[in-house]
């Protein structure tokens, strides 16, 4: 298959998977009540997915990435703004790399 066909196939599959997750919660809740225990366990999913996504970059690259991650956390807590935190993180990693040469 060509790269183009594969790309369209991937996008269509991702769209179907996402809509499935969006619709199935309401569908299930209209039929069966979710046990509080399962619901509480599933609440760990989003946070641990995102931690897993960024852990290799933050923990195993140069100190610039680790420091910039700390800066992003601080700015995010202080400002509560995603765009400002993102800008601060990018500026910090750029500065860190220029200084350390990472």
């Amino acid at each position: 298959m060509s790269d183009d066909t594969l790309a369209i196939l991937a996008i269509a599959g991702m769209a179907a998977a996402t809509y499935f997750t969006r619709a199935s919660g309401l569908w299930l809740a209209r039929r069966f009540p979710l046990s509080p225990r399962v619901a509480a366990i599933l609440e760990y999913v989003p946070g641990t997915v995102i931690v897993s996504l960024i852990a290799p970059t933050v923990l195993t690259r140069s100190p610039a990435e680790a420091i910039a991650a700390g800066v992003t956390v601080l700015v995010s807590i202080v400002t509560g703004s995603l765009p400002i935190a993102m800008t601060a993180g990018v500026a910090a990693v750029w500065l860190g790399r220029s200084v350390i040469g990472g």
Binding site: M14, R30, P83
Partner: protein, 235 residues
Amino acid sequence: MAEEVRFDLSGVRAGFVACLPITVSVFAYGFVFGLLTGQAGIDIAKAVMMSALVFAGSAQFVALDMWVSPLPVGALVLTTLIINLRHVLMGAALRPWFGSLSPGAAYGSMFFMTDENWALTMREFMRGGRNAGFLLGSGLAVFLAWVSATAAGAAAGGAIRDPAAYGLDFAFTAVFIALLVGLWRGRSDILPWLAAAAAAAAAAAFVPGKWYILIGSLAGTAIGAWQREPARDER
């Protein structure tokens, strides 16, 4: 429920207007996504198509990282499914208001459920709002910002040759860190998150491909389930 739930244009309009301030950060996030699609080798038409059809920020960012030739279609779809599993819980929480609507209105609205406008809609309902059109209206505002930002970012991306030289490759990580700060619920997250980080970093070093995302989140969720068991609470 004392008052009957409605679904009409006034609710859609109220949701759209209430969501406008949030669209600023959605636009910034979508712009970065668009910017990075060029680096991943996705053309602007497919970038916009992905944003309009998938319409799920974190899953789309992860897909960028997995976008290599030949495309791992199965892994992309499976990863998308796992990242979006939280939607199942969010959708279930809407049952008191969407349970009695017609299937068309209810399941049509679900396409437009994102983290941002779901939270806004839950707050509206908690405050006594009874118009379920709110979710659709606020979701449309997010949708328009997300898709137009993707197009703008993809168009601008061609102008930036080496994003790493400006630290822009870190934008993706920084966005997730900021989202993570918002997901923090307290001390019960410490152990699961540490376990996820350790497992993911170890898996990234030793397992090829993107399995570290799944391995890390399963490890963290397992620790979360373990510490929730009643015996643990007696410490």
